[in-house]
Symmetry: C2
Subunit: 704 residues, 2 copies
C-alpha cells in the first residue's frame, strides 16, 4: 500500500488556484494575491472569485466558487470573517479539499471570533477539507512561482534552500526581505496563523522530506505539541532554526490577543529545543548570521585564524573571539616566518591575528589563507579585507571568490568581512557564492554559532536504567490518591529513596518525647521539621529548626515549631515533626522536575541556597534522557567549577549527583502523575562520599 | 592675555597644505591624498612634494618642501619610514609647525621602529613642530572639505555633528562608512595612530570646544592618561562614546604589535568610563544604535509604548523590552477604548503593545501616536510600520516624518522601525530627518541605550569625609618602609581601623599560652591566623584554623599551624598567631582597592566566599568618589537583593558597608603608596549591626 501524500503536497504544488475575495476596486487585497501569482511566475492556472464579478488581468471574476468551470486544487480565501463559513461550505460542495483562510477576526480577536473559528473547523471536517489559517498570509513555493501573500515580495528574492514556517505573516515577510537583501534563496514559506488545522509540526514534517528544502527556519509565538516538535527535529539532519517569541509576562498579553498562542515557560522551551538539536535565535540579526554561517562547511573545533588588512579590525576580531569563547589558533613559527618573507620587510610582524598591512597581493593573500586553513590546529578563519571600491574592486571580488573556493576545498569555514562602503557590500551579497559579513564581530559571531551548532549532541530520549522500586512508589501514590492529598515529606523521601536517591536518616515523632528519643538516636546536633499535609513551604512558617544541640534544645524547638504553626497555619493537621541529624560540610543543590504542558516533564538541577534566586543557575532537560545528558546538565551550571573543585577546594561527588538526576528522570517517566518534585536541598559531599536529599516535596496531578 | 589657540586648530583648519610623498606613479598613495582634497572640495591651497618631481592635477610636484614658494600651515607626510626624520627636519627648516606623519614602521613594528620614533619626537621638539601620528591616516574636517586620508571617503557622507577620534585609521574609515550608509553626518575625524605627540585627550579637548561637534566617538586600543580622559569627559555635556578594544590576553598580542598600545584591566576601564559619563560600546552595531538614538530627545524613564502594524513584530518588540529591562507603559483604558473606535471593529483589541492591524489611516496613526506620547506614564515609543513600497510608499514616508515631528514636539524619543524591503530602508535613511531602525529589537535597543545614557549620574571626584587618623597610618607605613616590607595583618587592620573600618577584635599571641589566654579573653569559639611578613595567602598554607571550641583546641590548632607553616614556608619569620573570636551569622563580602596605572586607584566591592571566582560579582569605582557612588556600587551587585533582604531573609547593614567602602576610598586617596588593599572577608551583619573586617592585606609601592 502506498503512503498517502502529505496533505501539504497539494498546498505547495497546486495546478489550479482560486483566489476568493477579488474585486475590481483598487484597494482590494485579493487582487494583490492574484497579481503576485502573475508577477511571481506561477506555473499553474489561477481563477478569481468575488461576489461583484467583473474582470481582472484579462480574466473573468467568477461570482461564486461553484461557477469555476474546472477542478480547483487550492482555494485562497480573503473574504470578510463573517462570510468565511459560507464560502468554505461552498468550497466543500465544489470538491475543493485544500483551502487557505487568510482572513483575520477569529480566536485572536476574542470570544465571538473563537466561536466562528470552531464553526469553520467543523465545516472543514464535514467536507474533508484541510486548511491553513485563519489569520495568515498562506504559502510561498519559490521554485513554482507560487505566492498567496497579499503583500508583494522583494524581486531580489532568489530560489534557494531556505524554507520558513511562521505563525505571523508580518514576521514571515520580514524574514523573506532579509533573505533577499542578504542574497540568500528561498525554497518555501508557510504562514500557519491560528493553526487550527495545519500547524507548524505538519509543516515541519513536510519540509523535512522536501528535497528543495535544506534549512528550516521557524517563527513561533506558542508551541503546543512540543514533544512532536522534538521528535520531528530528532528525525532529520537538516538544520532547524527557531525564533520562539513571547518569552514572558510582558509579551503574553499581545500574543494571546494576536494568535491565541499559549505561552510556555521560556527556560523549558530553551532547554527542550537545544535538547532536540534545534538552534534557537531571538532576533533576526542572529537568524541572518545563522543562515549565512550554515552555508559554510562545519566548524569542528574552537580554533580560529584571523587575517586582516587592518590592524584595528584584527584587534576587534580578537576581542570578539574572546567574548564568543573562540580561541585564536596557534600558528607554527616556521609558517609565520615563511609568510613574513612575502610582506614588506619589518613593517608588520606576523602572528594570529595576522595583520597583513597595506600590501595587497592576491597571490600572497591566497597562499597565506590556504596555508593557514590546511593546518590541523585551525578549525576556521575570519578574513577581513579593507578596500576602496574603485582601484581594488575587481581584485577584491576575485579574492572573496577564491576564499570561498578555499573554504569548500579545505572543508573549513571562512567568514569574510568586507570593509568598504555599504553599497559595495550590498552588491557583493548578491554576486558572491558565499556569505559576506559587514562587521568583524559579525564574522566572528557566525563562526561561534557554527561551532555551537556542530557541537550540540542530541541525546536519545531513553529512560535511564537504575534502581526503581515501582511497586513501593505505586503503593504510596495510591494511598495519597485515596486520601486526596499530595505525599507528605517522609512519603516523598520514601518515593525518592525507592528510585535510588539517598535520603537523610529521619524519624517521624508525634510527641516531644518521641522527638527527643529520635534526636538522641540519630545523634546531635539535630534538625526538626513540621509534618502536615496542609503545609508545603515549612520554613516560611517557622516550621523548621536547625542546629539543635541538646535534649533541652529539642524540647524547646518542638514547642516553638508547634506554636509557630498554630499561629501561621491555624487548623492544620499536624502529624508531628520529622527529626534528622544536622549535617556538616558539603554543598547544597536543587534537583527537581515539573510537568510542562507542552513538552512533558522538565528535570531541573541547579545551585541551591540563598543565591539561587539571584543567579538562577539551573540546567534543564526534558525526560527521559540518558546519563550523558545528566552529566552535561551539571557541566553547564555556572557553579560547575566549584563542584569540580576550584582553587584547591574539595571536589564534590558529581557521580552521586548524576545518579540523583537520573533517578528523578526515571521517576517522572514511570509516574507522570507527579507534576512537581523538589529535592531541595540535596547536599553533595566530597568526591566519593555521595549526596543526600535533606528535604523532598511532591505534587500530584489533580484527579480528573 | 589671550589664550593661545589649541594646537589642533591649525591642523583642522589649514589654509595651505603640503602633501609630501607624491609621485606620478599610478599606485602612489600620496596622490590619493591630494586627489581626495580636490574631490572633497577643500577650501584651501594644496602643494604636492616628491623627490622625482613631475606634475599632477595640473600642478608642479615640488622636489622638496623648501621649494614651495608659500607659507605651509600643514604638511602631510607619506614617505618611506627611513626618510621621515630627514623630511621632518626639512619641514622644521621651512617653518612648518604642524605635521601629520601617516607613514607606518615605527614603534608598532619593533625595536628599530621605536628608535626611529624617538628620533622623530626629538626632531619635532627641537623644531617646535606639533605632529599627529605616525602610523595614521590624519584628519578629516567635513565642513572644510579637508581629508588627509589615503583612502577615498564614501560620497554619501554628509556634513553633520558627529566627530571621530580613532587610534586605527582602518576602524576610523569603517565608522565613516557606517555613518554614511545610515544617513548620519560628520563634523571631524582624527586618526591619532601611535599618538607620540598629539593624543586622544588633546583631540578630545579640542572637539569639546568645537562648535561643529555635537557627539564625540572614540576608538582606542589603549588608554594611557585615563585621569585626564575622565576629567575632560566630566567637563562637557556633549555625549562621548568610546570603543575601547583590546580587552584581554588574546587581543594584547596584536595591539602591542599594531599601535604599541598598553592594555589596562578591562573591568577598570569599564568602570572608569561609566563613572565619567562616557558610554562604552564594543561593536559598531552598538555605535550605530547610539548615534541614531542620541539624535532623539532624552529618554527620561523606563516606560515604553509599542505601536505596530504587525502583531508578530509587536510580540518581538515586547520580548526585546523585557530583555532590555524596559517596561511596557500602562495605557489608560479610556484612551484605548477611544482609540478602538478608529479601528475596524472587533478585529484587534488594543493594549500595549498596540497592534494596529492592517488598517493604514495616517490620521488615526498620528492621533494614536500623539495621544500616547503626551501621556505622563509614557517615556518613549517604538513605532513599527510594515508596508509595501509601491502602494504605501509616499504615505509611509509622510508617517515617518510626522512621527519625527511628534517626537520633537513632545520631547520624547520615538524609535521607528521600517519593515519593508532593504532598498527602501536604505533610501529612508538618507531622506528622513530622524533615524530609522531595521529590526524591532534594534528600535527597542536604541531606547534602552538612550535610557541608560540619560540615567547615568557622574559623581564629582571628591574625597569623602569621615574618620581619618592620618598620623596613625603614616606611622605604620613609615615603619614598614623602614623595614622594607608590607604591613602585617594586624598593621593592615590597624590602618583600616584608623580610617573608620570596624575590624574584628584581635590579640597577637607569640606563644601557645598567650594564644590560650587571648582566646579565653575574647571568648570561644576562636580563630587562629599565622602572622608572618613572608606569608600573605595564609589559608592556602594551612595558616588559619576556624571554630576552635576549647582551650585544648587552641593548643592543638596552634601546634598544627606552626607545623603547617614550617612545612609550607620553611624559614619564614613567624611573629606568632592572631587570635580572633569566631563570628556567627552575617554575609561575607570583599572590599578592596588596587592602583591601576592608567586611571588611578580602583576601589572594588563584591560578593565574597567560594562563589566569587564563579560569578565575578564586583562593582568598581575610581577614587575619589562621594557617598552616592559607594551606595550605587552596592546596588549594582547581583547579590544586592540578598543584601536588601530577599524572600523574607534578613537585610544586611548596607550603611556600614558604604562607610567601609568610603574609608577605603579615603585611605588610598591620602596614601597613594598603598597599591593593593584587601578587606577579605568583610562580614556584614543584619541591618543596624554593622560590619567587621575579618582580615586585611596591603601592599605598598616599591620604593623608587
Amino acid at each position: 500500500m502506498a503512503t498517502p501524500p502529505h496533505p501539504l503536497q497539494t498546498f505547495f504544488n497546486p495546478e489550479t488556484v482560486a483566489v476568493v475575495g477579488v474585486s475590481e476596486k483598487p484597494d482590494n487585497l485579493g487582487r494583490v494575491i492574484s497579481g503576485n501569482l502573475h508577477s511571481f511566475g506561477f506555473n499553474g492556472i489561477v481563477y478569481e472569485v468575488g461576489p461583484d464579478g467583473g474582470t481582472i488581468y484579462g480574466r473573468r471574476i467568477y461570482r461564486a466558487v461553484s461557477d469555476i468551470p474546472d477542478r480547483v486544487d487550492l482555494a485562497v480565501l480573503l473574504v470578510p470573517a463573517r462570510v468565511v463559513p459560507e464560502v468554505l461550505t461552498e468550497c466543500g460542495r465544489k470538491g475543493i479539499r485544500h483551502v487557505i483562510i487568510e482572513t483575520a477576526g477569529f480566536s485572536e480577536s476574542g470570544p465571538d471570533g473563537a466561536l466562528r473559528e470552531q464553526e469553520v473547523a467543523a465545516i472543514a471536517a464535514e467536507n474533508d477539507i484541510r486548511f491553513v489559517g485563519p489569520n495568515c498570509i498562506g504559502l510561498v513555493n519559490r521554485h513554482a512561482g507560487l505566492s498567496t501573500a497579499f503583500v508583494t515580495l522583494d524581486p531580489l528574492l532568489k530560489e534557494g534552500g531556505t524554507s520558513v514556517i511562521t505563525q505571523s505573516g508580518g514576521v514571515g515577510i520580514s524574514i523573506l526581505n532579509m533573505l533577499a537583501s542578504e542574497g540568500g534563496g528561498l525554497a518555501k514559506m508557510i504562514s500557519v496563523g491560528n493553526k487550527v488545522d495545519i500547524d507548524e509540526n505538519d509543516a515541519l514534517e513536510y519540509l523535512i522530506d522536501d528535497p528543495e528544502t535544506e534549512i528550516i527556519t521557524m517563527y513561533l509565538e506558542g508551541i503546543q505539541d512540543g514533544r512532536r516538535l522534538m521528535s520531528l527535529a530528532r528525525s532529520t539532519d537538516k538544520p532547524i532554526l527557531i525564533h520562539k517569541s513571547n518569552i514572558g509576562e510582558a509579551a503574553r498579553g499581545i500574543a494571546s490577543s494576536h494568535t491565541a498562542a499559549l505561552s510556555a515557560d521560556d527556560a523549558v522551551v530553551d532547554a527542550a529545543l537545544r535538547q532536540a538539536g534545534i538552534a534557537r535565535f531571538r532576533d533576526s540579526e542572529t537568524l541572518v548570521h545563522y543562515l549565512k554561517a550554515l552555508t559554510l562547511p562545519p566548524m569542528r573545533g574552537n580554533r580560529v585564524a584571523v587575517l586582516s588588512r587592518s590592524g584595528g579590525h584584527a584587534v576587534i576580531a580578537a576581542d570578539a573571539c574572546e567574548l564568543q569563547g573562540l580561541q585564536l589558533a596557534e600558528l607554527p613559527r616556521e609558517f609565520l616566518d615563511e609568510a613574513q618573507t612575502h610582506l614588506r620587510a619589518n613593517v608588520i610582524s606576523l602572528t594570529n591575528p595576522m595583520d597583513l598591512g597595506d600590501l595587497f597581493d592576491l597571490d600572497v593573500y591566497e597562499r597565506l589563507a590556504e596555508g593557514t586553513l590546511k593546518m590541523d590546529g585551525v578549525d576556521g578563519m575570519v578574513f577581513m579585507h579593507t578596500y576602496m571600491v574603485g582601484p581594488d574592486g575587481d581584485r577584491s571580488q576575485r579574492l572573496f571568490e577564491r576564499l570561498h573556493e578555499l573554504s569548500v576545498e579545505t572543508g573549513k569555514p571562512v567568514a569574510v568581512h568586507a570593509d568598504t562602503v555599504a553599497s559595495e557590500v550590498s552588491r557583493l551579497k548578491q554576486v558572491l557564492p558565499g556569505p559576506v559579513f559587514q562587521e568583524p564581530s559579525d564574522a566572528v559571531r557566525a563562526l561561534s554559532l557554527l561551532r555551537d551548532y556542530w557541537k550540540v549532541e542530541v541525546p536519545a530520549p531513553v529512560r535511564p536504567d537504575g534502581p526503581a522500586d515501582a511497586a513501593a512508589v505505586r503503593a504510596i501514590l495510591d494511598t495519597c490518591r485515596r486520601e486526596g492529598r499530595n505525599p507528605l515529606l517522609q512519603e516523598s523521601m520514601a518515593i525518592a529513596s525507592a528510585y535510588g536517591v539517598p535520603v537523610i536518616a529521619s524519624r517521624l515523632a508525634a510527641t516531644e518525647d518521641e522527638a527527643v528519643a529520635a534526636a538522641l538516636e540519630l545523634g546531635l546536633p539535630a534538625v526538626l521539621k513540621v509534618i502536615s499535609p496542609e503545609i508545603s513551604h515549612k520554613s516560611d512558617l517557622g516550621g523548621v529548626q536547625l542546629s539543635i544541640r541538646s535534649e533541652e534544645g529539642v524540647r524547646t524547638a518542638y514547642g516553638e515549631i508547634m506554636e509557630a504553626v498554630a499561629a501561621g497555619a491555624p487548623g492544620s493537621h499536624v502529624a508531628g515533626v520529622l527529626v534528622q541529624p544536622m549535617l556538616r560540610g558539603g554543598r547544597d543543590l536543587i534537583v527537581g522536575a515539573r510537568l510542562d504542558p507542552n513538552f512533558g516533564h522538565a528535570v531541573v538541577a541547579g545551585m541551591g541556597g540563598v543565591f539561587v534566586e539571584v543567579f538562577r543557575d539551573v540546567a534543564i532537560r526534558i525526560a527521559p534522557f540518558p546519563k550523558s545528558a545528566a552529566a552535561a546538565m551539571l557541566r553547564e551550571l555556572k557553579v560547575w567549577p566549584v563542584l569540580e573543585g576550584v582553587r584547591g577546594q574539595e571536589a564534590s561527588d558529581v557521580d552521586a549527583l548524576i545518579d540523583a538526576i537520573l533517578a528523578v528522570a526515571r521517576l517522572v517517566t514511570d509516574f507522570p502523575e507527579i507534576v512537581e518534585l523538589d529535592l531541595n536541598p540535596i547536599r553533595v559531599m566530597a568526591s566519593g562520599k555521595g549526596c543526600l536529599a535533606l528535604d523532598a516535596r511532591m505534587n500530584l496531578a489533580p484527579l480528573s
